[in-house]
Symmetry: C2
Subunit: 425 residues, 2 copies
C-alpha cells in the first residue's frame, strides 16, 4: 500500500502557536509523502483506499534526536550515581561489551525491536567506538523500519583503556571504514553520522580529522554540549583556545554552518554559545529525563524558543530511563515548570502543544520535511486507540491527545505506525 | 488459599538504610499475615503450598497516601493551566458531575477497576462533597479488593455554588450520615476518613465540627497542607488566629496527636509547621507529579526524613497525571535531584531504596503494619515478571528492581497481586 487515506481525528502542530486538530478528517499519503489534511477527500484522491480510524487519534511519528543504543540494556538502573561514577560503573563497562559482535547483535536486536514497537519513527543514535558493532546496529535499525542516523563513537583520550582508540589517526580511519562499509550495504533508511563523544574524549587532532571527513562526505554531526558544570570546566581546561565549549566543535568544522549538527543537552549554554547555535543553525536535543536523572539541571528551553533556536527532544538512554518520547514530552513540560518556579519567573512553562511540536516537527526538521501532516512532508504517522483508557464520559479531542501523552498510551495504544508512508505496525 | 509460600527474589525495605534483597527465598503468608522471609522453609511451615515465582521479583504492594478518585476521568488533561484556572475549568466541573449517582457509579467503577489492575494495594481517597456518591465509591473500592480510606469532602465556603454545602451544620450532618451508612454496609476493607478539602474551603465552625466527629468516631483525617504560596497566603488571611497553616487544623483537633492524620504536599511547610508535624505524628503525602504539573514546587523530602517525619507517597490525581506509584517513586527521586541542584546543595537526592521505602513501609504505616515482609505485617505483595523487558544479559536483582520502576513495569509486568493475603490478580 503506497497510496492511502486515513480517516480519524488528525492532530499535529504546523507551528508553535497551537495544535491543529481536525476531527473526522482525512490525511492522504501518496508514495510516502503527505498530501495534506482534508475535511472531504478531494476529487484527485478519490480512487485511493481509505482506512477507517474513526474516533482514533492520528498524530505524526515521534522524532528522537538523541539516544544511546548501546546503553539500552541498563536503562533505568544506576540512577543513584552521579555522572562520573555512573559512566565508570555503568556506561563504560556496558559499551565495552560491544567489542563482541555476538553481544552487539543480540543487544542491538532487542533495542531495534523495542524502537519498532514504540512511538518513535526517526532517531539519531550513538553506538560505541566499535566499527563492526556500529554496522550491526545499522543492520538492525534498517530492519526495524525506522529512519535513523547511526554514529560510530570517537574517543581518543580520557576514556577507559578498553574503549579508547589508539590514536586520532586510527579513530579517523575507522570512521572512514564505517562510512564506506555502511554505504556498501545499500541501506534505504539508515545513514551514518559523525559522532565525537564529546570534547573531553576527543583530541583537537581527532576533532579536526572528523571535521574533514564530515566535509568530504557531506555528513551530519552529533555530540554532547554543556551538559553539566564539571564537564564544562574540564572542557575549558582542555581547549584554552576555544571561546566557549561549542566553539571547540566549531573550530573543527563540527558545529552546523554548511552541515547539519545536533547537540544534546545545552543545559548551561551561555549567551555567546546560544548565539553561535543560532547563527550556525545547530539543533538542540533537549533531554529532560536524563538531565534530571544524572542531576545535570534544567535547560532553559523557553529562552531557546524565544531566540528562535531549533529544538527537538531526545530520550538519551541510559541517562534517560525510557525510550518513550511520550514520556519525554511530559518530562519537558514538567521540568519547564520547575525552571519557571525556581530559576526564571519570566520563562513561561512549556505548553503541551509546544512540547508536542518539539517532539514532531521541531526535531523532525533534522531529518528533512517530516513530523507534520502538511503537504509535501514525509508521511510518518501513529494511529492511537485510546479506548484502552477507560473514561466515564466523552472528552474533547484536544484533551484526549494530551491525556494520551500523560498516561503513556504509547505502551499499549499504538494501533498503526507508518514511516515514510510504509506501515510497520 | 489463606496460607501459602511464595518463592522468588524478595525485595523490601525494613528500614531507610537500604533494600533487603533475598534471592531465591521464601516468604510465608499465614491468614493474611506475613511470617517473614526465609532462605529455606522453616519446619513449622513445611505443609504449606509453595507457589513458584522463581526468577520473578516479589515486592510489597504500593501504598498511595493521597489521590482524588473523583478526578480520575480527566487525569493528564488541562496541565497547561495554573492552579485556580485548573480548579475552575477542570476539577470543580468534574466533581459537580458526582451529584448524579449514575455518573458516580460509572466513573468510580472505572477508577476502582484501574486501581485493581495496578500496583497499589492500599489507598487514601478523596471523593466529592456528595455523600451518596462517596458511598458508591466505597462500594466500588470494597469490590476492588484494595484496602482504602474514603473521604466525603467538606466545603462550606469559597467553592462554586453547585459544590458548596449550605452550612457547616449541614456539612457535618452529611459527614455523620456518611459514617453511619458506611458502617451499616459492613465493609471489610473500606473505611471512612474525615476530609476537609483544605482550610480555604472550610469555615472554622466546620473544622471544629469535623474535629468533634473525628473524636467521637475515632477516625483518621486527610487534607491538603502548604501546597503553594498563594494558597498559604489566602489561608493565613482567613485564619488570623492560627500560628501557621497546619495550626488551623490542629486547633480544630484535625492534626494528628491522638488520631491519625495525613496531609498532602507540605511543599512550603516552615520550621514551626514541620516541628508540629513531627510532634503530632502527622503523615506527609509527598506528591511529586502533582507538585510539578501544577507548578507548586518541590517538597524538601530529604529534610523531612532527616527530621524523622513520617513520609509516604501519593499520586494525587488529577494534579498528578497517573495512578502509578511506580511513576511516583521515579518522580520523587527526580525532583529531589532538582531540589539538590537548584535549591539546597546539602539536601542529598533521594536514593532509589528511600523512595521505595516511602512507597511501601513508609506510607504503609498509615494503614498499620504493612508495606514490608517482616514478621507480623499484613501481607500485601506484588509478583513482577520482568521477562516482558527484553535484556541482552543477566542483570543483578537490585538493578532489575530499580529498572522495574524506571521502565513502568506496573503497566504490563504484574503477574500476581495480594492484599491482606488475598490474591486479587
Amino acid at each position: 500500500m503506497s497510496n492511502y487515506v486515513l480517516k480519524g481525528h488528525i492532530c499535529h502542530t504546523p507551528d508553535l502557536n497551537g495544535p491543529e486538530i481536525r476531527e473526522n478528517a482525512y490525511v492522504v499519503c501518496e508514495n510516502g509523502i503527505c498530501r495534506g489534511v482534508f475535511d472531504e477527500i478531494p476529487e484527485r484522491f478519490r480512487g485511493i483506499e481509505v482506512t477507517d480510524c474513526t474516533n482514533q487519534l492520528i498524530i505524526p511519528g515521534m522524532m528522537d534526536l538523541h539516544t544511546h543504543a548501546s546503553q539500552f540494556a541498563f536503562r533505568g538502573t544506576g540512577m543513584d550515581c552521579e555522572l562520573l561514577d555512573w559512566l565508570n560503573r555503568y556506561a563504560f563497562p556496558e559499551e565495552s561489551r560491544f567489542s563482541d559482535p555476538a553481544y552487539a547483535e543480540k543487544a542491538y536486536g532487542l533495542f531495534a525491536q523495542t524502537m519498532r514497537q514504540g512511538a518513535t519513527t526517526r532517531v539519531v543514535l550513538f553506538g560505541t567506538v566499535h566499527t563492526d558493532a556500529s554496522l550491526l546496529l545499522m543492520d538492525c535499525m534498517e530492519k526495524s523500519g525506522l529512519v535513523s542516523y547511526v554514529g560510530k563513537v570517537n574517543m581518543d583520550r580520557n576514556a577507559p583503556p578498553e574503549l579508547q582508540e589508539e590514536s586520532a589517526f586510527r579513530s579517523a580511519e575507522e570512521t572512514r571504514r564505517f562510512i564506506r562499509e555502511s554505504a556498501a550495504r545499500g541501506y534505504r533508511k539508515t545513514k551514518p553520522i559523525i559522532t565525537p563523544r564529546f570534547v573531553i574524549s576527543c583530541t583537537d587532532e581527532l576533532l579536526k580529522e572528523l571535521g574533514k571527513i564530515r566535509k568530504e562526505h557531506g555528513l551530519p554531526v552529533q555530540s554532547h554540549l554543556s551538559e553539566n558544570q564539571e564537564e564544562i570546566k574540564t572542557t575549558a581546561a582542555l581547549t584554552p583556545e576555544a571561546d566557549f565549549y561549542g566553539d571547540a566543535y566549531d573550530r573543527a568544522g563540527l558545529f552546523g554552518r554548511d552541515g547539519k549538527t545536533v547537540m544534546a543537552h545545552c543545559v548551561y549554554s551561555g549567551a555567546e554559545e546560544t548565539e553561535r547555535i543560532r547563527e550556525n543553525g545547530v539543533w538542540i536535543a533537549h533531554c529532560p529525563a536524563s538531565n534530571m536523572n544524572i542531576a545535570s539541571g534544567i535547560a532553559p528551553i523557553r529562552r531557546y524558543l524565544e531566540q528562535g533556536l531549533r529544538v527537538g527532544l531526545g530520550t538519551d538512554m541510559a541517562g534517560g530511563n525510557s525510550e518513550s518520547m511520550f514520556q519525554a514530552v511530559v518530562d519537558a513540560i514538567q521540568v519547564s515548570k520547575m525552571y519557571w518556579r525556581y530559576i526564571d519567573r519570566d520563562a513561561a512553562p512549556l505548553k503541551f502543544h509546544e512540547a508536542f511540536y518539539m517532539a514532531t516537527k521541531g526535531g523532525g526538521a533534522f531529518f528533512g520535511k517530516t513530523g507534520s501532516f502538511e503537504e509535501g512532508y514525509a508521511f510518518d504517522a501513529l494511529v492511537l486507540d485510546d479506548t484502552c483508557l477507560p473514561c466515564a464520559r466523552e472528552m474533547p479531542v484536544a484533551e484526549r491527545l494530551e491525556k494520551a501523552f500523560y498516561t503513556r498510551m504509547d505502551q499499549q495504544g499504538i494501533r498503526m505506525k507508518f514511516v515514510d508512508g510504509e506501515r510497520i505496525l
